[in-house]
Symmetry: C2
Subunit: 231 residues, 2 copies
């Protein structure tokens, strides 16, 4: 399998490109609009046929590159059915599978950061979006966020995966690229196994974060799959 | 094997941590002083025994975290014998081997960006420092840099490795994390196989880059293995 992790320095977003080394069939997870040229060129250079553009959720901090990449490659965009978004080509639910070449990713519903967050699991890796971050987690104070739902998603859905599973999140702000289920169960300061729901809810409600700078632009655009112009 | 790539957002430097999953014996390549806390904590959390701190070269853009990490862990620092640096515990030459657990890295002398640049090869990966970057290469206009030497190092030492070898450089400025020998032989705009030495020398001499911002501080400190105070 071909696996590439890519980073957007402005929003600290990770984009992932996975492909079958034999057939070239590929999927991309969470592309960033401003990185379209980089991503598009890499897909061409590697000779890949992009099948799906997968979103982990409706992002509030950057605009997705999905629509532009779809126009360029003919790939299908896919988001959670529960997102209410109408621009996608495929709507995903817990347990669905994404196939590319001889590889597959399983869709895991992990609501909490937003109500329609998805993780993608396969090949010893889980792409957790903003559900579990490395030694952290996504905030739960907008877009129907819920600390209780996030706690349950991480504990019952992510931490029940094999401990050696590598965790690839949607962001990291300290230059750490991945983690593992084993590490986060032990060392995640908000969600390690010694922490109960009430403590977690207390941690999350005490954060008092400023809204993401781009939320007013990004969320509406992402509900159009990344089209910046409503028309 | 445990493998972790880490990123310093200020200098766009990649640090690498490699360890034997059974014995915990580990090496780190090109740590950044400002990231000491992050790196040190990760080494502890993973329960690793750090044996070596390896430098690809005397960096001009950041101060190495080698001396501090050595003091904390008891690991040995290692640099090129040709560097003339006197603070290290081990001096490396082309063909030397670094052993950790059941793993090994082979030292490859790849001068050109500086006269004492080393690459480290093993386990299907090559850590190229500033010799080959992703779709680029290190500059050759200071620290005894030589376009001719760099051209020869890349073409004869790096591009002769198996094509599927993954290239992990010391830097990337576009959020790309790794490449491969196959990709760089085809797509590196300065060093792909259709480019001759004279064209490469022309490309490099036309760059006219500003000196790295930290060169006056970083190079002297790095010649002391990262001690910021000469005393």
């Amino acid at each position: 399998m071909i696996f590439r992790q890519l980073f957007d320095l402005e929003s600290s977003t990770y984009t992932y490109l996975l492909a079958d080394a034999i057939t070239g069939e590929a999927v991309v997870i969470d592309p960033v609009l401003e990185q379209n040229q980089r991503d598009s060129r890499l897909i061409k250079e590697l000779g890949l046929k992009l099948l799906y553009i997968l979103e982990t959720h409706i992002h509030a901090d950057h605009i997705t590159g999905a629509d532009l990449l779809r126009a360029e490659t003919g790939a299908k965009t896919a988001v959670a059915k529960t997102s209410g978004v109408e621009c996608a080509d495929r709507y995903l639910e817990d347990g669905d599978e994404i196939l590319f070449g001889s590889h597959r990713l399983r869709v895991i519903a992990t609501p909490g950061h937003t109500n329609s967050c998805l993780s993608y699991y396969g090949e010893g890796r889980v792409f957790t979006g903003d559900a579990v971050l490395i030694r952290g987690c996504g905030r739960t104070d907008f877009q129907e966020g819920s600390s209780e739902k996030l706690f349950n998603s991480v504990r019952s859905k992510i931490f029940s995966l094999p401990e050696e599973t590598l965790i690839f999140p949607a962001h990291d702000y300290k230059g750490v690229l991945h983690s593992s289920v084993r590490e986060e169960k032990k060392f995640n300061p908000r969600l390690n196994e010694s922490i109960g729901l009430d403590v977690f809810k207390g941690i999350m409600s005490a954060l008092k974060l400023d809204p993401p700078k781009k939320i007013q632009v990004a969320v509406p655009a992402n509900r159009r799959c990344g089209k910046t112009n409503p028309a």
